[in-house]
């Protein structure tokens, strides 16, 4: 039982990262129906931006909390800049192009960004990330179930990010315009909504959340590397689809589900199909099963015909 609870906690921590990155996928998809495969790289850039801020820009002895805030800002600046450039120069010219064209563009951007960082950020191996939040500091959740400080932080920022985003989308003017654009871009345009601006907003919000996640990941694992975005990106995309792509709560739910499935498969899947080597296979099996029975994902609505 104790192991089960501890694994549940592990799953939630893992899922928090997936969920946070999945939000970026889901928002962009919801509005432009684009699978932005390069979003994982935005997450990676967030981590590197934060690392750069710490190692290059911050003077030694900056108070931890201040350093964290500035690192987050640094990460966000990098992520958002990259997302804006990507939107402007890679995706926007392709609006109205055959739908699969942007998919290949996304792939190209993804490869480009990975290689850019790998080649031009000094030293070509995983980069040590400052351990500003002590990983050996454990919080007990009762019955010897524990969570370390950076892991707890990951979950907390993820939850804050998700709540903030869904509040923004539901309450703010821009958020409602986003919903309208997602529902029906043509009508939204007729109603005077600047859809270009809405699309940019979606990219920016997604990048900001990815940067949060990138920083959290750096703090949690103590390293960032140029490839970290790719795997996380695929998982996050999976999470977004699992939850029902285009649906904000769905992305979060999908992320947690995926994280928990992976962890539980490691521990409890029947031998010999258990363990880390099989966990991703289980994750995808669950995805396929969910989609077979709920073709639009866990929270996805039946997609209306769009004439």
């Amino acid at each position: 039982m104790q192991t089960f609870l501890q694994q549940l906690v592990n799953g939630v921590v893992l899922g928090a990262t997936y969920g946070l990155v999945a939000l970026g996928y889901t928002m962009v998809y919801g509005i432009v129906q684009l699978i932005n495969f390069a979003h994982g790289e935005i997450y990676m850039l967030g981590g590197f931006g934060a690392l750069f801020t710490y190692t290059v820009l911050l003077p030694g002895g900056t108070p931890v909390v201040l350093a964290l805030v500035l690192m987050l800002l640094g990460g966000m600046v990098v992520s958002i800049t990259a997302a804006l450039l990507m939107e402007r120069f890679a995706y926007r010219p392709l609006r109205g192009a055959p739908r699969l064209a942007p998919l290949i563009t996304a792939l190209g951007v993804s490869i480009f960004l990975q290689e850019l960082v790998r080649n031009f950020y000094p030293a070509k191996s995983p980069r040590p990330f400052p351990q500003l939040v002590d990983p050996s500091h454990q919080f007990s959740l009762g019955a010897s179930v524990e969570i370390s400080a950076p892991r707890l932080l990951t979950v907390v920022v993820a939850v804050i990010g998700m709540v903030a985003l869904s509040t923004f989308v539901r309450r703010s003017r821009t958020g409602r315009a986003m919903q309208a654009t997602a529902q029906d871009p043509d009508t939204a345009r007729l109603m005077g909504i600047d859809t270009d601006r809405i699309i940019v907003t979606a990219f920016v919000l997604g990048a900001a959340l990815a940067a949060v996640s990138g920083l959290a990941s750096g703090l949690q694992f103590g390293t960032v590397d140029p490839r970290m975005g790719f795997l996380t990106g695929v998982k996050a995309f999976t999470a977004a689809v699992l939850g029902g792509i285009g649906n904000i709560s769905g992305a979060v739910l999908g992320g947690f589900t995926l994280g928990i499935v992976e962890v539980m498969a490691t521990q409890y899947a029947p031998d010999p199909f258990s363990g880390g080597a099989w966990k991703d296979a289980w994750a995808f099996v669950v995805l396929i099963l969910v989609l077979v029975f709920r073709p639009s994902g866990l929270l996805g609505e039946r997609v209306a015909a769009r004439a």
């Binding site: 192991t3 501890q6 694994q7 592990n10 799953g11 921590v13 893992l14 990262t17 790998r118 070509k124 191996s125 995983p126 040590p128 351990q131 990983p135 050996s136 454990q138 524990e146 370390s148 892991r151 990941s217 949690q220 694992f221 103590g222 390293t223 590397d225 490839r227 970290m228 790719f230 795997l231 992976e262 962890v263 490691t266 521990q267 363990g275 880390g276 080597a277 099989w278 966990k279 991703d280």
Partner: protein, 407 residues
């Protein structure tokens, strides 16, 4: 009116194409100073994730070539390097191997880095009887060593394939003996990354550890590229092991040891030469203290020649570090250079004859390299089976024990 227009427009282009084809062929522009140029090939990942390691191999070979040319080791021959990028993929490996075979000036190859790539390069190179020496392939299949475990008769699958590193079935057991016999560990957890190298090593370790009387827990696996190993740590913790052997490379190993210790499982992690890297300690930080890694050969700083190599390497100011296989590649290149010198001395200077002769001479190699003595058995494996265990003390790998498995 239509057709003439078409013809008129097409005519210059067609004439142009004809001119192009007439001028397309190139002529050799050799001035013929009497010195012949032969090529030493390298097959290694020069782009992608493993490029730093691959460039280390390339640089090691380049250094050897530079010294040979400066010292005029081979009379009348200028050596040049042709480093080909295999992108760590078997498919591409076979291709660049064919490229090197097609270049008649190529007389030997150093590489590749990965065993899986070697499985597709070795057949191609062997067919042309080009000697290839890998600094790092540890998979038993390549020299068919796997049959030894089951009592079969070893036969050589690739006639011109050699390697200067220890195979998994030597490194793993050596580590196991150290863990069980020297450190007295009783309950050992095994984790590997489910790659050919990691799994081969971990399996060989587990087998020997059992034979030595330790309790070996069911093997756990992780995925290369993963970062969150908390599920594995939680799972292992329940079984209360006192030692962990990890088959794989440092990026995951460093995260695993850190998360293990943060998760309250305070036991040493041991790995193979894939873990023996300065980066491991950089990432794992204080968690790395007490962790262990095995590596081929005697400790580098105990050999004068090795020190000289490192100095030379540093002087050449390469962008990528010599670690982990630069020194072994340097030795491999020198084995080929020495063989070529003999072949040229025998008057073999070109074509298939020189390739045949070099392969034959590599087989008979016998010299002191910077990683130890270089000589090969009849299957292409190195005769040198000296290994060293290093342990992390104060942020550094320190040699703990040198020896050879079973000896």
């Amino acid at each position: 009116m239509q057709a003439p227009r078409l013809v008129r427009v097409a005519a210059p282009l067609i004439i142009g194409a004809l001119v192009l084809s007439a001028c397309g062929s190139k002529s050799e522009s050799g001035s013929g100073s009497g010195n012949i140029t032969l090529t030493l090939g390298v097959i290694a990942p020069l782009s992608g994730d493993l490029s730093a390691v691959g460039n280390g191999i390339k640089n090691g070979v380049e250094l050897a070539i530079k010294q040979a040319n400066e010292n005029k080791t081979i009379k009348g021959v200028t050596l040049k390097l042709d480093a080909e990028d295999d992108t760590a993929k078997a498919e591409v490996g076979a291709q660049v191997a064919a490229k090197l075979v097609a270049d008649s000036s190529v007389i030997g190859v150093v590489g590749p880095l990965n065993s899986s790539v070697a499985k597709s390069t070795a057949p191609v190179l062997s067919q042309a009887n080009i000697a290839s020496i890998s600094p790092s392939n540890s998979n038993v299949d390549l020299t068919n060593r796997g049959v030894l475990a089951t009592g079969g008769t070893q036969t050589r699958p690739y006639k011109s394939y050699f390697r200067v590193c220890a195979t998994d079935d030597i490194q793993g057991p050596f580590a196991a003996d150290y863990a069980v016999k020297d450190l007295g560990k009783k309950t050992i957890a095994i984790v590997h990354d489910k790659k050919a190298y990691g799994q081969g090593l971990a399996e060989a370790f587990a087998k020997q550890a059992k034979a030595d009387g330790a309790t070996v827990l069911p093997t756990e696996t992780i995925n290369p590229g993963d970062k969150d190993f908390s599920a594995i740590v939680t799972k292992l913790k329940a079984a209360k092991p006192d030692f962990l052997f990890y088959g794989g490379e440092y990026p995951e190993a460093s995260l695993l040891t850190k998360q293990m210790k943060a998760g309250g499982l305070n036991i040493p992690l041991m790995g193979g030469d894939g873990v023996d890297a300065a980066e491991y300690i950089k990432i794992a930080g204080a968690s790395a203290n007490g962790d262990l890694a095995t590596a081929l050969g005697a400790p580098t700083d105990s050999l004068a020649s090795a020190k000289q190599f490192l100095t030379d390497y540093k002087a050449a100011a390469y962008a990528d570090p010599a670690d982990p296989y630069g020194a072994a590649s340097y030795d491999a290149a020198n084995a080929i250079i020495k063989a070529l010198a003999k072949a040229v001395g025998d008057g073999k200077k070109s074509g298939q004859a020189v390739r045949d002769e070099v392969t034959k001479e590599v087989q008979d190699s016998d010299f002191e390299g910077v990683t130890g003595k270089i000589s090969f058995d009849q299957f292409g494996d190195t005769n040198t089976k000296i290994l060293t265990v290093y342990s992390v003390k104060d942020g550094k790998f320190v040699a703990a024990k040198s020896g050879t498995f079973g000896g």
